[in-house]
Amino acid sequence: MPLLPSQITFFASAQPFSSGGVITIQPVPESGKNNLFQDTPWQSLEAGQVVYKKIFLKNSSTTVLSALLVWLLQPTEQEVVSIGLGTPTDTDGTVVTYSNPTRDEGFALPTMNPGDAVAIWLRKTTPPNTPAFVNNNLFQIALTGTST
């Protein structure tokens, strides 16, 4: 059975602003402004800021997803997003190990059976003295794999 795009989706975590905890039934929109990250406070551009988000990638299909690799297309403005694996219930994004996988490396995710969900932490870093944004900041997660 062909895999449909709506069968691979992100869901928010239970803590306020999807900042950790267990999975919820609230989907994370796949595009649109502020669909996960709120606007960076202008004061933080100078002072610097780190924001943690926990989201769950869910396999809602009837197939097994394997050979899963994630890579990041970094924000178009001068912020950095890193990715790490969480647990179904963890609440502290500061203790997670993060990386910045590119298309050439990829970040391996475990095989996902139908109905499985994988916890993913995203860490958005605003370095001190970041210039004012010229446009909306855009960050992308790409996911590849095989559906069988």
Binding site: P5, S19, Q43, T146
Partner: protein, 163 residues
């Protein structure tokens, strides 16, 4: 699937052999400072205090109005940035004997503030909500907590009355 650049919104590629690629896009911007949030080089205040009685009636000017000239060298106006999740961040007092403290809530998030020590009852600072004005002569500390997930800060005005 040798795609290296930015991916179009909603990208989903599915091959006959079961391989697939899906892209998720996240967009945000920065907040913009309002004119009153621009850094101030010189501070000069004249606060007018007005008091209400137990039935919320504003007492007459003749009863309680007082204007307090506050020269810039003994007043401060800051907007300390409190990192998300930070609890009981101390705000430095400008003097060991501050006459007035005015705390204006941040514009985007709800925070709390405690006075003297971290064990007291917190005042809640809601966006567009009420600020806190204190006759602060017995205040020895200000502690602000930011339970939200974005950095923000209240506006803190401190003044020492000119002797």
């Amino acid at each position: 699937m040798a795609l290296y650049g930015q991916l179009p919104f909603g990208t989903f590629l599915y091959g006959g052999n079961g391989s697939f690629l899906k892209a998720f896009s996240f967009t945000w911007n920065q907040t913009q400072p309002t004119p009153e949030e621009e850094p101030m080089g010189q501070i000069n205040y004249e606060l007018t205090l007005q008091r209400i009685d137990d039935e919320n009636n504003i007492l007459t000017d003749a009863d309680i109005m007082a204007s307090l000239p506050l020269p810039s060298d003994i007043a401060s106006d800051t907007e300390p940035l409190i990192q998300p999740g930070q609890i009981d961040q101390p705000i430095p007092l400008i003097s060991g004997y501050v006459d007035f403290i005015l705390i204006i809530p941040p514009k985007t998030v709800t925070m709390t503030v405690k006075f003297n020590d971290t064990g007291g009852t917190p005042f809640t600072l809601r966006p567009k909500g009420m600020g806190v004005l204190l006759d602060a002569q017995n205040i020895t500390g200000i502690f602000v907590s930011n339970p939200s997930d974005i950095a923000a800060g209240p506006r803190v005005i401190q003044a020492v009355r000119q002797q």
